[in-house]
């Protein structure tokens, strides 16, 4: 399953709930304000770093660029995709689950 998270991990519990309920082997795409969770060196970076073995993490590049984070280091293992890559992720997974 592909999980999408569009909320800031600083503001809401959305990412935390997604990570709690995402089964091993699932993919998580961080988009919109959810991209802040992909940054290394923040107070919440560990939430994703700790699950890097269980889950595949992706982040939407256009949302990273919009927020001025293109040069900011991402957590190791997070892969950047564009909208086309987002479409491919949806195709590759049997279902998708938007954590709103």
């Amino acid at each position: 399953m592909l999980h999408t998270v569009n909320k800031s991990p600083f503001e809401r519990n959305t990412l935390r709930s997604c990570l709690r309920l995402a089964q091993k082997g699932s993919a998580v795409l961080l988009m919109e304000d959810g991209v802040y969770a992909a940054l290394s060196g923040t107070a919440v970076s560990d939430e994703i770093a700790d699950r890097m073995d269980d889950l595949s993490f992706y982040v939407l590049g256009p949302d990273i660029a919009a927020r001025g984070l293109s040069e900011s280091p991402l957590i190791g293992g997070v892969q950047v995709v564009d909208y086309g890559g987002f479409v491919d992720l949806v195709v590759e997974h049997e279902a998708s689950n938007a954590w709103l």
Binding site: N6, E32, D33, Y83, V87, V90, V91, S96, A98, L100
Partner: protein, 119 residues
């Protein structure tokens, strides 16, 4: 592959409609089919043809209308959500139609994937 897209928020206030639009565009560019776009909750406001953003801003209502025309998309606005929020036929931009929630369930059944954008 056949996609259904659900848009839960109106234009501007949340990024949901922008993200859904760019996703739809990308899916079509890759040769996929967008079987239906369903507008629910405040998403019904994406169909209001009176929307007039500043000239240097994007016009989401127009963008959806145009994408719909180019690709013959089925843009469905939920009637129950629309009535509450004062979206009626006389406000509908070209290409949108108002119908029941069953059309969302149908999109879930018929499309290979349902992708949701919201707050």
């Amino acid at each position: 592959m056949k996609f259904g897209i659900l848009v839960n928020e109106g234009p501007f206030t949340h990024q949901a409609s922008d993200s859904a639009y760019r996703f739809a565009e990308a899916a079509l560019a890759k040769g996929h089919e967008v079987w239906r776009v369903f507008f629910y909750h405040d998403g019904v406001n994406n169909s209001n043809k009176l929307s007039e953003p500043q000239s240097d801003d994007r016009n989401l209502v127009k963008l959806w209308s145009e994408l719909g025309r180019e690709h013959d998309l089925d843009l469905v606005v939920c009637v129950a959500a629309a009535l509450r929020r004062g979206i009626k036929d006389e406000l509908l931009a070209a290409g949108f139609r108002i119908s029941g929630l069953g059309q969302l369930v149908e999109a879930g059944i018929q499309a290979d994937r349902l992708v949701v954008f919201g707050d």
